[in-house]
Subunit: 322 residues, 2 copies
């Protein structure tokens, strides 16, 4: 996708220009470091696309776009503490490079920065921008809490799992798009359709993440294939497998959870998940959300031509192999 | 002060009515718990007083007032993690009663709640409310970081210390007042004077805290007298003592830091600080900020009668013995 690359370059430049005070350096150095670690910058691109869909130039929503990216990075800094993650994008996380307290506090001040950027948009849109942004921020926290709660539960349902990924990651994609549409002064109906498009594309994206984690081509996949299986993580694949397995298969699944030979564990689980039909079931679930997303996009009351970038983005998301 | 008590009762009722969702309970139960721990609710009272100073009813700024109180509680939850504090208002802190991750995340979502409450004010004031609120939130984080940085430094200057308490605690008092003035549509000059009043009264209040910690009447003081001395905390008293001590006194101060008999340590330090003139120097510093505050209040362009509540508040703050 040509567009995405062009937008990403613009965004990297703008992100590099977000100014943090020099002192206290223990508060702001971690933010300068973390905001430069890169990433796809997909969320602010969505805000651009949400505005352009309704004929508004991306420059008009730059601060809202940056706000979403900054908020996302705040959540990553705090999530990394909670997940005890040593690395983020192959670099040390803030709490590893500095310490826990600094990661908590620099995350907090980054969250403030997100609001400061949002507040740079025209005051006439501020109440609506804040309404969507606040609700989304709250939901993202709820999703993270559900994810943490799931670790110690053995009775997570598929509906709960999908609700968790919706809150933890997908609502922010819907929000990113809708902020662009708010500034473009789109109708309430169109805003809702666009939000739904983003939200359901996000769920499809996350389910694909689960599938790729086990079925990706190791040569193209950026991470270790089977990482979720090795850590016995509850993913949609795992939950679908448990749901669909017959008693013998369920026993095998249970045995594989304690298998010490990790290469064997991954390959046997992969074959078993396929035999059970878990992979296929996940693909059906993914397709359902993808279709919902595309149908929502279809209902937006603008010329089809304006939708091409979002369609290209959706294709890009669904055809990725890493 | 009659007024403060009346306002506090109203606020307790409103705070009890802030609604948090039922689930995820690990996210919201800590907030229901923490918001009910009480406290003086001084900050939201200030927002009421800031509005009333300009003839606006307190009901018109209720959401802004609650927003400030909620924000303050968010900072307490995160500060308690960073300070490893087991108790807050004689009850378990969130990270002790639940765990660190829950304290981080429920703090985050409480911060969102503060913005949600602020956003309930009339949209026409939102940009200005946000401007002051965001700047203050950022400064409070900076103050907390400075406070943490000071723990491992032996060269903290008195100016740095005053700047730290200004950021960590006093700007929020100025902000609380100014939010009320913004909704009351006070002039820019009057808003600034009111902010300065709150900020400098806050600094005076904090310096008095330092003094009371060592010189309070144990029968009236809520905490252990001399707690700061026992933990060798850098307070204004401590910094002034080091600044003013002669070489012999400085050596005595240094010896007292490692004194094992804590009762002796406190009483000897108290006498030494008085001999050195540290207590008096702190009182001079406190008076300076109190005078600045009262002078700022004087310059506000409203009838003297409207200022009586704020004058009573200032008297109350300065004459307290606990």
């Amino acid at each position: 996708m040509q567009d995405l690359a062009v937008y990403s370059i613009l965004l990297e430049k703008e992100i590099a220009q977000i100014d943090f005070p020099k002192t206290p350096s223990n508060l702001y150095d971690p933010l300068r470091y973390f905001m430069q670690l890169g990433g796809k910058r997909m969320r602010p691109v969505l805000t651009f696309l949400g505005a352009e869909l309704f004929g508004l130039k991306k420059e008009e929503v730059l601060n809202a776009a940056l706000s979403v990216e900054v908020f996302h990075n705040f959540t990553l800094i705090h999530d990394d503490i909670m997940d005890e993650a040593p690395l983020r994008r192959a670099k040390e996380t803030v709490h590893t490079k500095w310490n826990h307290n600094i990661a908590i506090l620099s995350g907090d001040v980054l969250f403030v920065k997100a609001y400061q950027l949002l507040a740079k948009q025209d005051p006439k849109h501020l109440a609506e921008l804040l309404h969507v942004f606040n609700r989304t921020a709250q939901e993202v926290c709820e999703g993270q809490q559900m994810d943490m709660d799931f670790e110690s539960r053995s009775d997570v349902s598929i509906d709960e799992y999908v609700e968790m990924i919706r809150l933890k990651t997908s609502v922010l994609l819907g929000c990113a798009l809708e902020l662009g549409a708010i500034v473009a002064e789109a109708s309430t109906e169109d805003r809702q359709h666009l939000y739904d498009f983003g939200q359901h594309l996000g769920i499809a994206f996350q389910i694909q993440d689960d599938i790729l984690d086990l079925y990706a081509d190791p040569e193209k996949f950026g991470k270790q294939v089977g990482g979720d299986v090795i850590s016995n993580k509850k993913t949609l694949l795992n939950l679908k497998a448990k749901e669909l397995a017959n008693p013998v298969q369920r026993e095998l699944l249970s045995q594989l959870e304690t298998e010490q030979d990790l290469i064997l564990k991954v390959s046997k689980t992969r074959d078993l998940f396929s035999d059970i039909g878990a992979r296929e079931a996940c693909e059906v679930e993914m397709q359902k959300h993808y279709d919902f997303a595309m149908n929502s996009l279809k209902q937006i009351n603008v010329a089809d031509q304006n939708k091409l970038s979002l369609i290209a983005l959706a294709d890009f998301v669904m055809q990725r192999d890493n």
